[in-house]
């Protein structure tokens, strides 16, 4: 029986998602620890050039499904493809990024395989009984569940920004195996008609290294311009609290918190955010938290590594200037 750790490598228009590279980086460490091969599985169309990048991040083998019928992600065909490959090769574990695709594909696949799935994990350890054990936030990070399964393969989706990126070894080679899984009519009951990617030079909220976020203290939608300016200097994403979204100042896709996105960037800059429990749940796992708020009693200061008590409309533009100087150095 082939024992291996599989990483589902997600790509869009030939661009590999950062979380997939994070998973390859961490998967390499685990594969070495348990002495089993690390296998990347990539599904799409026009993928030839990607094998080298994948090898550089530590894969021993790349299973490539490269066909026009897989050009756009669609639940049915992708589930069928992975189901066939997994039943054929019997890997020990299959890991996905907890992205829009991972969240859609992994549960469907888990059910077809009749196995469990650990969703949105923020840690993964080798376990002697169950191969891998996972830590996953519940109640949006107010608690953690430590989970494992005795069923194989072990399936998990891992939150972006959980594991650091390795430095790619561009000289590394991996065996590339082409596979041609079939799809049938029942896979085509849902057809993607159109994909609209918002033109944005900013990173996606859940994948961003730095997030600048604004709450009720922003006083209105027009004032987010000062956060966007700071974000531009830092290459950051711009988030919002529920108060700001409920007020209609920002779209829900930018909401951080229990009823929005859960994020764990290296740096989270909270501007005019009071620190309601449901917001803290969504960003409490950030590595460094900065709070700028004029209320010295605001709850956000209790979790902030660095706080400035002051008027954000005065402080943020000054901080932007200072950061610009640092970045230019």
């Amino acid at each position: 029986m082939a024992k291996a750790i599989w990483i589902f490598v997600e790509q869009r228009k030939g661009q590999i998602r950062k979380v997939s590279l994070e998973l390859l980086s961490q998967g390499r460490k685990i594969a070495t620890e348990v002495g089993e091969p690390l296998v990347a599985v990539i599904v799409g169309h026009g993928l030839e050039t990607l094998a080298r990048d994948i090898a550089g991040y530590g894969a021993d083998k790349v299973i490539m499904v490269d066909d026009a019928k897989f050009a756009e992600y669609s639940t049915g065909p992708f589930t069928s493809a992975l189901n066939q490959l997994i039943r054929q090769e019997e890997p020990q574990a299959v890991l996905f990024g907890n992205t829009a695709i991972g969240k859609d594909l992994a549960p469907r696949l888990a059910q077809r395989l009749g196995v469990g799935l650990a969703s949105d994990c923020t840690d993964m350890l080798v376990d002697h009984e169950s191969f891998l054990a996972f830590k996953r936030p519940i109640y949006a990070g107010k608690a953690f569940a430590h989970v494992k399964t005795n069923v194989r393969p072990v399936l998990a989706t891992i939150r972006p920004n959980t594991f650091p990126l390795a430095t790619p070894d561009l000289g590394r080679d991996a065996e590339v195996v082409r596979a041609n899984p079939s799809i049938d009519a029942s896979d085509l009951k849902a057809i993607v008609k159109e994909v609209v990617i918002a033109a944005s030079k900013r990173p996606e909220l859940t994948e961003a290294n730095i997030i600048v976020s604004g709450g009720r203290g922003m006083k209105g939608p027009e004032n987010y311009a000062i956060l966007e300016e700071l974000a531009d200097v830092l290459g950051a994403a711009v988030g919002a609290s529920r108060a700001a979204v409920d007020a209609g100042w920002r779209e829900h896709k930018y909401q951080v918190g229990q009823t929005g996105k859960t994020v764990s960037p290296n740096l989270y800059i909270a501007c005019g955010i009071s620190g309601a429990i449901q917001h803290l749940a969504g960003m409490g796992s950030s590595k460094v938290i900065v709070a700028i708020n004029k209320d010295p009693e605001a709850n956000i200061f209790n979790v902030a590594d660095y706080g400035i008590v002051g008027d954000l409309f005065e402080v943020v533009p000054l901080l932007t200037q200072e950061c610009r100087k640092l970045v230019q150095d």
């Binding site: 549960p107 469907r108 059910q111 519940i138 608690a143 953690f144 409490g284 590594d305």
Partner: protein
């Protein structure tokens, strides 16, 4: 044309709830205010709107303890027609697979064109059960839906993806999971609350469904729960705005090393 809709809902802790572990290391539900999972409210609202437009029936289904009846009554008060609760002491330790198996049994006994659910439950946050249910029923599913247009035998839906949206044409019957932005859920009216008292709320056990707990043993085991280490916050950067901004930038680069 008439559209029969099944809405799967879950009762969860209020978003304001603080999480405490009891003496056995389990999540302590005592004194916690319970709500309908916020994303499931969008699913209920959408189901009622489609019924109001096309005719048909909305059935809400849930699995949980007896307290879950409150959530189902609220859905009935909003305008759903019937409710089914699966409640069984043997369903104490369940995972997403178990819940999907039970819901499959319940839903396969109903006539449906459309199944709706929230895209995620804010308690366990796993976004699995609805998609697993669709797989079991052999119907297509679309996750994280922002807009639904139902036509004869087909629906056109807009789904949120990372950094954008997708437009998807999907055959009926299908399952759709609701994202915030799909609609603004109504509050139950007084008349709605009165009517809900007379609506059918069926409570089923595993035996009623011809199912055995031994066949439903969870695939995932929770070894333990833990609470996050409280963050050590509270440090303030002193000085006027200009001095504080300069010092903060320095600290972020030199001390925290994040810039």
């Amino acid at each position: 044309m008439g559209v029969n809709i099944v809405v799967c809902i879950k009762q969860t802790f209020d978003t304001e709830a603080k999480i405490v572990l009891d003496n056995n290391g389990q999540i302590d539900p005592n004194g916690v205010n319970m709500i309908i999972n916020p994303y499931d409210e969008f699913a209920i609202e959408e189901g009622i709107r489609l019924k109001e437009k096309f005719g048909g029936e909305v059935t809400v289904v849930s699995l949980g303890g007896s307290r879950t009846q409150e959530a189902l009554r609220t859905a009935l008060a909003m305008g759903a027609d019937k409710a089914i609760l699966v409640s069984d002491a043997a369903l104490d330790r369940v995972d997403e697979w178990t819940v999907a198996e039970v819901l499959t049994k319940v839903v396969s006994g109903l006539a449906y064109d459309l199944i709706l659910a929230g895209r995620i439950a804010i308690d366990d946050g796993s976004s699995q059960v609805a998609v697993r249910l669709a797989e079991n029923l052999g119907i297509p599913s679309v996750s994280s839906v922002l807009k639904i247009e139902v036509n004869e035998g087909e629906a056109t839906v807009m789904r949120e993806i990372d950094g954008g949206t997708e437009l998807i044409a999907v055959n009926l019957p299908c399952l759709l999971t609701a994202q915030k932005g799909l609609n603004e859920p109504r509050y139950p009216s007084v008349a709605g609350i009165m009517k809900a008292k007379k609506k059918e709320l069926k409570s089923l056990t595993l035996q009623d469904l011809n199912m055995n707990a031994e066949d439903l043993v969870a695939k995932m085991q929770i070894a333990r729960y833990s609470l996050p280490t409280p963050r050590q916050g509270g440090r303030k950067v002193p000085g006027d705005a200009a001095a504080a901004a300069r010092e903060l930038a320095r600290l972020l680069r030199e001390e925290a090393k994040v810039l």
